[in-house]
């Protein structure tokens, strides 16, 4: 009876029309934009910029030269920065997980802490970055603190100094960057059935034992998704470089290099940048496979 009902619904014209109508915006977007952009990317990677003719390796060679030759030293330097910003991102995700658990356990002033930690993600990132920039200047509170300890920041700026710019951006990213991941971890923890936690509490386990033995295994699927997305974005790790230094003072990254090309400053590199993008995509696949295998140990029943 159920099967019959399903079958009759399956072939009902009204239902088919309804499904087509509902799927139209998304499917047409996939066909026109998503597939179009992928096709355009592949076509550009195999087309010579100047002659417009097919080239099998030309753009890839140019991309590799840019990435690893002395001429493109800033780009190869960007690779090292990308790796460092990726590690900062991973650290941030772990810190957010820890912070979410503290909030979940209703630490003192948890409402205030929750809002304050998420606030940088809610209000403009630009605003927070600009405030931080001025905050760290000689005339800002940091300058006052340094002066109170007998030092002086006059004439120095942390963001315009090659030795301090990158580390300052990283510290900034750690400080203000908990919000985005925090919201996901916190929501996942709130979905844990309370009776599961109560069993543990009746057994007399402490909060940290509860975290590792009860909460972590239960939010395993969220853990897998979060870290998979993190790994996928390995070559895209860029921190807050755009808003602070625009890639200057030794802070450039791979993603920023590609972004800069898109802004049209070096139009003749469009095709090489596409080839580089494809290269990074191919390089991401083994990283993704290994990462997924490791992480599936934490959440084998991933339900996206």
């Amino acid at each position: 009876m159920n099967k019959l009902a399903k079958k009759s619904r399956k072939f009902h014209v009204g239902t088919i029309l309804f499904c087509c109508l509902m799927m139209f915006p998304a499917v047409s977007h996939i066909i026109i934009f998503w597939a179009g952009i992928q096709f355009s990317a592949i076509k550009m990677a195999f087309t010579d910029y100047y002659t417009g003719e097919f080239t099998l390796f030309g753009n890839f060679e140019q991309a590799i030269n840019l990435l690893f030759s002395t001429k493109g030293a800033d780009v190869s330097f960007a690779f090292a920065n990308t790796c460092q910003f990726f590690l900062v991102g991973v650290l941030n995700t772990f810190l957010a997980l820890f912070a979410a658990y503290m909030l979940f356990k209703k630490m003192a002033c948890y409402r205030f802490t929750r809002i304050a930690l998420y606030l940088p993600a809610a209000i403009s990132g630009l605003m927070i970055a600009r405030l931080f920039n001025q905050f760290c200047m000689a005339d800002g509170p940091l300058g006052a603190i340094v002066e109170a300890f007998g030092g002086s920041m006059q004439g120095t700026s942390l963001m315009t100094n090659e030795s301090t710019a990158k580390i300052t951006i990283m510290l900034y990213d750690i400080w203000v960057g908990l919000g985005g991941s925090l919201i996901i971890w916190y929501a996942a923890m709130n979905r844990i059935p309370p009776h599961l936690l109560e069993y543990g509490q009746l057994e007399g386990i402490g909060v940290f034992r509860e975290f590792f033995s009860v909460v972590m295994p239960l939010i395993g699927p969220t853990f897998v998704v979060m870290f998979t997305l993190q790994i996928v974005n390995f070559f895209g790790s860029s921190g807050s470089v755009l808003v602070f230094t625009r890639g200057k003072y030794g802070t450039t990254t791979i993603a920023f290099w590609l972004f800069n090309i898109a802004l049209g400053e070096t139009e003749n590199l469009y095709n090489a940048a596409n080839a580089a993008g494809l290269l990074f995509l191919v390089l991401t696949i083994p990283i993704l496979i290994v990462g997924r295998k490791i992480m599936n140990k934490f959440g084998q029943e991933v339900q996206y």
């Binding site: 799927m23 047409s28 630490m107 996928v232 895209g236 898109a262 596409n274």
Partner: protein, 308 residues
């Protein structure tokens, strides 16, 4: 059934007793961690408060805009930067057109609302059909969404720009058509909701003669409203603060975020107070939305689910 004394006991606890019981409930390590986290959060708020105080402090030149270093309380208060920032903050487009504050605000509104709604409509409709109907290729669609999510986006900026340029969508309001993106994490959030809605809802509606449209709009959408609201909110916040998309694709229609991004480097820059005032005004709509709906925002976004 609670006795009279049981009902009275919790409220009869003094504040000190409550604090003592809180401290007894966890170990010292927990309290140290909580203290560090609190200071971490408090410093973020302190930075915002300091920024606000700078925005109401009379400007004393490039090297002395900040307040008295020994105190963050300004010696004099000047709110004039707030109305002034409306005049000061403007953006010049690549073709030399000057967009004033009103124009930036207008662009922010239509770009943010337009792209958020486009994405929302497309994702809700797409995920609903995939989750609730036995359409051909249902599993393939689901896998496609997962795989697309796994593909990195950083190499896509250039082809995205060149492709949209070839379609004539760069610096064109029709750019919003490219925002009807029905896949991504939003799809998974809606999908996991719709797939878990009890079939009894639609079956009883069908028995009452409801059409597919009626079931969707009168039953499913109201049920999904908390998630739709949260997703709209996050989309709105992201769009409002996004300056890189207008910078690349809609530079002739700069929004408020892009205007503020460019303002600090412009010749019109008149110091931190006016700039900070502009930043605070621009942040007001999203900050208000966040403060009102922060609880919903914090509990409705689930990806990956939990085991069991």
């Amino acid at each position: 059934m609670k006795t009279q004394s049981q009902r009275i006991r919790p409220s009869s606890k003094t504040v000190w007793q409550k604090i003592a019981s809180y401290f007894r409930s966890h170990g010292i390590v927990f309290h140290i961690c909580a203290f560090i986290l609190f200071i971490w959060a408090a410093l973020l708020v302190f930075m915002l408060v300091w920024g606000f105080l700078v925005s109401i402090t009379p400007y004393r030149g490039l090297d002395g805009y900040a307040n008295n270093k020994t105190s963050i309380i300004p010696k004099a208060i000047d709110f004039s930067y707030y109305p002034e920032s409306f005049k000061l903050i403007k953006a010049e487009t690549p073709y030399g057109k000057m967009v004033n504050y009103g124009g930036l605000l207008f662009n922010s509104i239509w770009l943010t609302v337009g792209s958020t709604l486009a994405k929302l409509i497309s994702t809700v409709c797409f995920s609903y059909v995939v989750a609730r109907y036995n359409i051909p290729g249902k599993k393939a669609i689901y896998m496609f969404v997962i795989v697309v999510m796994m593909l990195p986006e950083y190499g896509q900026t250039v082809p995205n720009f060149t492709y949209l340029h070839s379609l004539g969508l760069i610096n064109n309001p029709a750019f919003l058509l490219s925002q009807f993106n029905g896949h991504g994490s939003g799809f998974l959030i809606y999908y996991s909701f719709f797939v878990n809605v009890d079939k009894a809802y639609e079956e009883s509606a069908r028995l009452d003669g409801a059409s597919e449209m009626t079931i969707f709009f009168r039953i499913m959408v109201p049920l999904c409203m908390p998630i739709i609201g949260t997703m709209f909110l996050t989309g709105f916040i992201g769009g409002w603060n996004d300056y890189s998309t207008p910078m690349i694709f809609m530079s002739e229609y700069p929004n408020l975020a892009l205007g503020l991004f460019n303002y600090q480097q412009s010749r019109d820059y008149q110091g931190a107070p006016a700039y900070f005032a502009g930043l605070f005004i621009a942040a007001l709509p999203v900050a208000t939305l966040f403060l009102i709906f922060n609880k919903q925002l914090m509990t409705n976004l689930v990806i990956g689910g939990i085991k069991g």
